[in-house]
């Protein structure tokens, strides 16, 4: 499941990070990996905007980052049961 589709407040584990072909998106994903979005890490959406759900506040480890859905869509997760 893509991270931007994960329901709010639900814990999940990162399974993969998609490496895009476009130059600017590659750079974006590189930064996401640097910030700790790597397979095995636990993530959770702690807050989101009304309506279109943008932006998303994503908890990863001890950090929280505000992401747009575009950035979040590169991160694949497995929701916890």
């Amino acid at each position: 499941m893509r991270l931007d589709l994960l329901p709010g407040q639900c814990w999940a584990t990162v399974t993969d990070v998609v490496v895009p072909t476009g130059e600017s998106d590659r750079y974006l994903v590189l930064r996401l990996v640097e910030l700790g979005f790597v397979p095995g890490e636990r993530v959770r959406i702690v807050a989101e905007g009304i309506g279109t759900r943008e932006p998303l506040a994503v908890r990863v480890g001890h950090s929280t980052f505000a992401l747009r859905k575009h950035e979040a869509s590169f991160i694949l997760v497995e929701p916890h049961a």
């Binding site: 490496v19 974006l28 908890r59 929280t64 980052f65 505000a66």
Partner: protein
């Protein structure tokens, strides 16, 4: 470098929000210098510290960076300094500052920095907080895994840097050749594996999450409650600015009135006394009264930012602001612009997307800065002398008008420069108590920006203004009219009437606006001078208000109010826009659109009012 050399020049490297600047403030206290790096508008902070043995060591506080793979100007400066690509000397020792409560994120930069080959020390900052959260860090194991010394620091305690200061008296390790090159995604993944391994070996975390941030966030970042709380926070902030600020302003006014009276009693009557009392003391005093309001607003902004609240407010406002083509990151610069546009525009440096940053810079002057308050107050009091409710509503309306216009302008700017995806990627740091030392230093820096401006541009203006009002025009008029009408300023005002008559400005306003174009702070005092009155600021205010109430038509009062909302009346803002955008064109565009909006708004207001009251 010899094996036994001691460090004399160190640099602090670390992620944003690791408490690096608080540590820098603790190390250097008031012995610090803030400037820009050569050729870029990135803040360069350098200071001097005393080691345990009393040696002086130069400290460079590098801009916060998540990675040496630079994403922003700040990160590029940091990368260039530590890789020796910049004109800065390579530091003898790199102090990698990490947040002990968030080593999972911060260790990666340490591992990356290790490849630089520079002697290194890792500082585990916020150790007190880590202990409180039940996070145990085995520093010996960590030092062994990383192969560099590890020290514990607490930037909030007076002696919190002692371990680091003692470490700085130990001989440096040898510098080795740098093996760093910008890593790709696979290399970063590999590093993250290593981070994981070291973290698991050296850090014990409690089984349950003890950080209260999550629970606070459920309320603070709630789409409805969050906005409600933000509204209350902003309301309290502005009420404080108006009430406490006005109270403190009274003291400054009294002080300057007394100094003026003292000088007046000691000096012989004449031109020089006029220059000193009316020109310099009156002029500078009339502007310094804004300082309390500016400082109170900045105290709130700095404390809220340091506590972790403002990034969350930016998160909440990202959605509405993106409708205007801005982003949540524009919020803090725009909020600062309510004190003064200059630090506001400088704060846009944190916006990584250039288009968003430019739009934020260009609309910053539309936020009602503190220098507009006296003109607003004077005119509103003349309009509604006995109706506090209407007066308050009109004041709020003027603030709101500036904001609405700014959103409209931002929309136009961003639509015209084409749309493309701008990522947000903003960290929402854990909540913490603001560091008092950093608050004081931050306030001091902002106060100095303002005071420097008063000492240069505004002082020069008040002297020129005084001269224009005092020197008689070379053309001989008949003996009628006030002295001011016969002065150089009177001539100028007469000529400007051609431009200002259609928007309802009389000659007096036209004259007062001449210096007011360079600094809107002086509009009220020059209006006072034009009406040839003397006495303290308070008296001038009261008499002016009476004359405005009785002599100016309704249309003129409203027209001048709207003029003050939009008009580009601040030379310093132009200078800073030119510097931050590195472009004369952007500066000219800003001036032109602000002047156009101001003239149009005043013209429509004046002509419509004239039509309806005729």
């Amino acid at each position: 470098m010899a094996e036994t050399a001691l460090p004399s020049h160190i640099a602090l490297l670390g992620n944003p929000n690791c408490g690096k600047t608080a540590l820098f403030n603790l190390l250097t206290g008031s012995r610090q210098k803030v400037a820009n790096y050569a050729g870029v508008t990135v803040e360069r902070k350098e200071g001097v510290l005393l080691t345990s043995s009393g040696r002086r060591v130069k400290v460079l506080d590098l801009p916060g960076a998540y990675s040496l793979n630079a994403h922003s100007n700040d990160e590029a400066v940091t990368r260039d300094v530590v890789t020796g690509r910049s004109r800065e000397a390579l530091p003898d020792l790199l102090v990698c500052v990490t947040d002990a409560t968030n080593l999972r994120l911060h260790l990666r930069l340490v591992l990356e920095a290790r490849q630089l080959g520079l002697p290194m020390v890792v500082a585990l900052n916020k150790m007190d907080r880590a202990r409180k959260l039940g996070i145990a860090v085995d520093t010996d194991r960590l030092a062994q895994e990383l192969g560099v010394p590890v020290v514990r620091t607490v930037s909030l305690h007076a002696h919190g840097a002692n371990e680091l200061l003692a470490q700085l008296d130990k001989p440096l390790a040898a510098r080795t050749a740098s093996t760093w090159k910008a890593p790709g995604i696979d290399a970063v993944r590999h590093t993250q594996h290593e981070v994981h391994r070291i973290f698991n070996a050296a850090v014990k975390e409690p089984a349950v999450d003890t950080d209260p941030s999550d629970r606070i966030d459920r309320v603070i970042m709630h789409p409805v409650w969050g906005l409600f709380i933000l509204g209350i926070v902003l309301f309290v902030t502005f009420i404080s600015v108006f009430s406490i600020g006005a109270w403190l302003t009274g003291f400054i006014e009294d002080a300057f009135a007394q100094v003026g009276a003292l000088v007046e009693s000691r000096m012989d009557e004449g031109l020089l006394r006029g220059l000193v009392v009316e020109g310099i003391i009156g002029g500078v005093g009339g502007v310094l009264v804004f300082l309390p309001q500016i400082l109170i607003l900045f105290l709130f902004i700095l404390a809220l930012e340091d506590s972790g609240y403002l990034p969350r407010a930016a998160f909440l406002l990202d959605k509405p602001m993106s409708k205007a083509g801005l982003s949540g990151r524009s919020f803090i610069p725009l909020l600062s612009s309510f004190a003064c546009a200059i630090p506001g525009i400088m704060a846009t440096r944190t916006i990584s997307d250039w288009r968003t940053r430019l739009a934020t810079i260009l609309i910053a002057p539309l936020m009602a800065c503190s220098a507009r308050i006296p003109v607003y107050t004077l005119l509103i009091a003349a309009l509604f002398p006995h109706d506090a409710l209407k007066a308050t509503l009109l004041m709020i309306g003027l603030y709101a008008l500036g904001i609405v216009a700014a959103m409209g302008v931002a929309r136009v700017i961003t639509v015209h420069s084409g749309s493309r995806h701008a990522p947000l990627l903003m960290e929402l740091p854990s909540y913490q108590w603001p560091d008092p030392r950093s608050l004081v230093i931050g306030l001091w820096e902002r106060a100095m920006i303002f005071v420097r401006r008063v000492g240069t541009i505004i002082l020069a203006l008040t002297i020129i203004m005084w001269a224009l009002y005092t020197i008689p025009s070379p053309r001989q008029h008949a003996n009628d009219g006030t002295p001011i009408a016969r002065s150089l300023a009177g001539e100028l005002g007469h000529a400007l009437q051609l431009v200002f008559a259609p928007i309802g400005f009389n000659e007096h306003i036209a004259i007062a606006l001449v210096p007011g174009m360079a600094a809107r702070e002086v509009v009220v005092s020059s209006l006072g001078l034009v009406y040839a009155m003397e006495g303290s600021e308070d008296e001038v205010g009261a008499k002016l208000q009476e004359r405005i109430a009785t002599e100016w038509p309704l249309g003129t009062k409203l027209s001048l109010l709207l003029w003050m909302v939009f008009a580009p009346q601040c030379l310093s803002t132009f200078i800073i826009v030119r510097r931050e955008t590195n472009s004369w064109r952007h500066m000219a565009v800003m001036g032109a659109y602000l002047f156009g909006l101001a003239y149009l708004a005043s013209l429509v207001t004046y002509q419509l009012t004239a039509l309806f009251t005729a």
